[in-house]
């Protein structure tokens, strides 16, 4: 009988309106590399947050057992004490501080009350050596590449005497060589007795490195496969990841013959000066009138970046390639120009980028096109109230009045406000980025109905979504993206979750 370093038993975790984890069982053997896979929203990150104490004891049900002892973590400090270290997708390093300060941030080495700098550097060099980092520990994080930063994160974890290392998509931001090095390092750590849990979307990596593979779907454990005694194929994993019944939650739409091409990008290369790398490579896509075009792909594939680069480039990317809107070549350097040209963008991050939460429904809806309500710059407030009420009724925003502060609405209703805001600028091309993320099934259905109505009225929609069923159910045509490239284009009739997932995980 093998020894389990970690057993998570019957873990359930609820957020308002959503059951994120539903009786999940997850067992990790001592000294193995355990890969956790699943679609976006399957519950992987939530499970790891429960494990690391981000969601403290009492906010979930079930037991966490480490080395045979039931743990009741009240915070990250507790889980670190127990030897659990988690490395998040977004690195948690302080850019302005040195490598050694970062490694010992939060558990500084002290002499008396002062930090013992020499000892810190000495110890930092030791752990850096373990991960094969040969740089000057006095360098600042901001001067280092992402791959190096990832290694520093691991060094930081090792400095805390980690027994169980959790890596959340460690290679998502890395190039091929850095990824290979990282995987090699994880294997070496295994030899030294460190157990690793790795969350990854890259199934090739998973099959090459894992000893055990656990698949989560919709907050449930689907299966746990032993990869040491038998070869698990990517196909098998995909089948478990998506294998659910298709319910009829997508309203029927009368397919109309799509019209002329209204938007097209050709050989679209996008370079992000902040990240210092190319994020999109030779993208070619087009959208026709009256069509819903789905853009599928996993997180980090570059879908939102593509939308942003088309929508007036507010992030200041460096772009090469051509954009055609209604047959004319365009080049935008501010969203206002895209709005004027009839493009609207509904952000995936409605709270951060979409809505002004402290303002009311009315002001949010009319914001993008106040000119339409104004004469000589003076707003006709009564007209504004009328318009806002019309929108509220037409998309069925559930709120006592349009004076309601948007921050107090539910996710689904906020999303409707966000869509109305874009519609008020009367666009001909609507880009919806994860339009149904984090909202309940009923509100989803309403949003699908709105989308169908809009295309029937002649609008074109680009829908970015991580939900495969949604993409297949709603789109006419689907582009699949992976690692900044378009890796496939399929007609929705021929699309299955399986073949999309295949294209998305190369």
């Amino acid at each position: 009988m093998e020894k389990y370093i970690l057993e998570m038993k019957n873990i359930s975790k609820e957020f308002p309106g959503v059951k994120a984890l539903d009786n999940v069982n997850f067992k990790v053997k001592e000294g193995e590399i355990h890969c956790l896979v699943g679609e976006n929203g399957a519950g992987k990150s939530t499970l790891m947050k429960v494990l690391s104490g981000v969601y403290p004891y009492g906010t979930y049900t079930g037991d966490i057992v480490i080395n045979g002892q039931v743990q009741k973590f009240t915070g990250i400090a507790d889980s670190e004490q127990a030897g659990v270290a988690i490395i998040y997708q977004e690195l948690a390093l302080v850019p302005e501080m040195t490598v050694y300060d970062n490694i010992f941030l939060g558990h500084e080495i002290k002499k008396g009350i002062a930090i013992d700098e020499n000892e810190t550097i000495q110890k930092a060099l030791e752990v850096m050596n373990k991960v094969g980092l040969k740089i000057n520990p006095s360098m600042q994080i901001k001067d280092l590449g992402v791959g190096t930063q990832q290694l520093i994160e691991i060094a930081k974890a090792l400095s805390k005497n980690v027994k169980l290392l959790i890596l959340d998509e460690p290679t998502a931001a890395l190039n091929e060589i850095d990824s290979q090095n990282l995987l090699k390092l994880i294997k070496e750590l295994k030899k030294e007795g460190v157990t690793s849990i790795m969350i990854s979307h890259k199934l090739k990596e998973v099959t090459s490195i894992a000893d055990t593979i656990t698949v989560l779907r919709d907050g449930k454990t689907i299966c746990s496969m032993d990869a040491t005694s038998q070869q698990i194929t990517e196909n098998e994993i995909i089948k478990h990841m998506v294998g659910r019944e298709i319910d009829n939650i997508y309203p029927k739409r009368e397919k109309i013959e799509p019209g002329e091409v209204v938007l097209e990008v050709r050989d679209w290369d996008v370079y992000d000066p902040n990240l210092g790398r190319e994020i999109l490579h030779k993208i070619n896509i087009n959208v026709r009138k009256g069509e819903i075009v789905g853009i599928s792909g996993l997180m980090g594939a570059g879908r939102t970046e593509l939308a942003m680069s088309i929508f007036g480039n507010p992030k200041g990317y460096k772009i090469q390639g051509d954009l055609y809107v209604n047959g004319e070549k365009q080049s935008y350097n501010h969203p206002s120009q895209a709005v004027k040209a009839g493009i609207a963008y509904v952000t995936e991050d409605r709270k951060g980028n979409g809505l002004i939460l402290i303002q009311d429904i009315k002001s949010n809806i009319t914001l993008a096109n106040l000119k339409a309500l104004a004469r000589f710059g003076v707003i006709n407030e009564n007209e504004e109230v009328k318009v806002a009420n019309e929108y509220k009724q037409s998309v069925n925003i559930k709120a006592p009045s349009i004076e309601q502060i948007v921050g107090n609405l539910s996710g689904g209703n906020q999303q409707k406000v966000s869509i109305c805001k874009s519609l008020f600028a009367s666009p001909s091309i609507l880009i919806l980025d994860e339009p149904t993320r984090g909202i309940d099934v009923g509100a989803k259905y309403e949003i699908y109905t709105i989308m169908n109505r809009l295309v029937q009225e002649g609008m074109s929609i680009i829908m970015i979504s991580s939900d495969l069923l949604e993409v297949i159910g709603m789109s006419d045509r689907i582009y699949v993206m992976a690692e900044g490239r378009v890796t496939g284009e399929i007609d929705a009739k021929d699309a299955t979750e399986h073949n999309i997932m295949e294209m998305a995980t190369i």
């Binding site: 206002s336 963008y345 951060g352 980028n353 809505l355 002004i356 402290i358 303002q359 805001k421």
Partner: protein, 390 residues
């Protein structure tokens, strides 16, 4: 709903906005008692308003700056330096005051535009840009007044801005007749526009407050305008300072509450990313609010210099802090996106009334600072708690 219930409901709903007005009224009444009516005497009220003019003007501009999540520390010495420029142009170059005033305002506007450019385009934090401005304008002010010391201004027209009153039609009466006429006109315009607004709402089929309450509101506000006019008319009438402040307030209130520009300013302050994605250029908004702040600093400088009838080496000291405090007391939020110019005016009046009232009571200056500090914290605490309840 009975009239009483409706009033209670409206009061509770708008407690944050009404709170400041109620506080101001309470302060006025309290000082009226403690100073045996000296505080509320027409002469004192008139002086109080004229003394606060330049802070009110600065507070109006500062409101927009704070709404956009910026700060401007340079306004004090910029005002002081603008005043010195005006004084030098008039005394040493003999330029007419009517030419000097627009020149100085354009100067302020240009300085503000440069500030806006450094903040919006170059990305230097507003705190740093305006702190640097504070040093620079202070240095230049000292340089400008170094040789001459305080510059006495002989121009009667210029000095009237801070000290003069609007002319009267019939100088023989005890009361200032033109002021009363303006007050009456104000009441009529207010009533007519309120009725028109209400009718327009009814035409659209929107909910309006009940007729009796509407009448109560009309009478109440008309009474306040009437009483204020009467008090001011009792002592020399409207001053030019008050006229200027009212014009600036009216223009800025209109812009912020009724125009697309105003809405864009609040949107940029409430959520910068969302504003950008709605097609609003936050950069442009930044230029505009700092240019406006610079121009208003120049106006404040003119008001202050005119009030003293001279440009001094220390003009502008602490103006920026008074303006910022006024905006916060008046309900502007440090996290951006909310705050009204009318609120900031009330905030400025609250702070000025405290100083004035305590002076009349003979409270020492050291206590005054401490008390004003406490009031600032209390006001913002009130604002934060009522905001949470919503």
């Amino acid at each position: 709903m009975t009239l009483y219930q409706e009033m209670k409901y409206l009061l509770r709903k708008n407690i944050r906005e009404y709170g400041m007005y109620i506080a101001l009224l309470a302060i006025v009444v309290a000082f009226g008692f403690t100073t045996q009516g000296l505080f509320t005497s027409p002469r004192n009220i008139s002086t109080l308003l004229n003394q606060t003019g330049y802070i009110m003007v600065l507070a109006i501009g500062m409101t927009l700056v704070i709404v956009c999540q910026y700060i401007d520390l340079s306004v004090g010495y910029l005002a002081g330096f603008s005043g010195a420029i005006a004084a030098i142009l008039m005394t040493q170059y003999g330029v007419s005051e009517w030419v000097v005033i627009p020149i100085v305002m354009v100067f302020g506007l240009a300085v503000g535009l440069i500030n806006g450019f450094m903040i919006g385009k170059l990305g230097i934090p507003a705190y740093v840009v305006s702190l640097a401005g504070m040093f620079i304008w202070r240095g230049l002010l000292l340089m400008a007044t170094e040789k001459t010391g305080t510059i006495i201004i002989p121009n009667a027209g210029f000095n009237a801005i801070g000290n003069g009153f609007i002319p009267d039609i019939d100088a023989n009466k005890d009361l200032h007749i033109l002021t009363l006429i303006i007050g009456a006109a104000g009441i009529v315009i207010y009533i007519l526009s309120a009725i028109k607004g209400r009718q327009s709402k009814i035409k659209y089929g929107f909910e309006v407050i009940s007729t009796p309450l509407f009448i109560v509101k009309l009478v109440f506000i008309s009474l306040i305008i009437g009483i204020m006019s009467w008090i001011i008319a009792d002592y020399n009438g409207l001053s030019w300072t008050v006229v200027i402040c009212m014009v600036v307030l009216a223009v800025y209130h209109f812009i912020t509450q009724k125009t697309t520009l105003g809405r864009h300013i609040y949107a940029a302050g409430g959520n910068r990313n969302a504003a950008e994605l709605a097609g609003i250029s936050v950069k442009k908004i930044t230029y505009i609010i700092f240019a406006s702040m610079g121009m208003l600093s120049a106006v404040a400088g003119i008001l202050y210099t005119s009030r003293l009838q001279s440009a001094t080496t220390t003009a502008g000291t602490m103006f920026e802090l008074d303006a910022i405090a006024s905006a916060f007391v008046g309900g502007a939020s440090a996290s951006g996106g909310s705050g009204k110019v009318t609120g900031s005016i009330v905030g400025a009046l609250v702070m000025a009334a405290l100083t004035n009232g305590m002076n009349l009571m003979g409270v020492g200056i050291s206590y005054q600072y401490a008390i004003r500090g406490a009031v600032l914290v209390l006001a913002v605490f009130f604002d934060v708690t009522t905001r949470k309840k919503k």
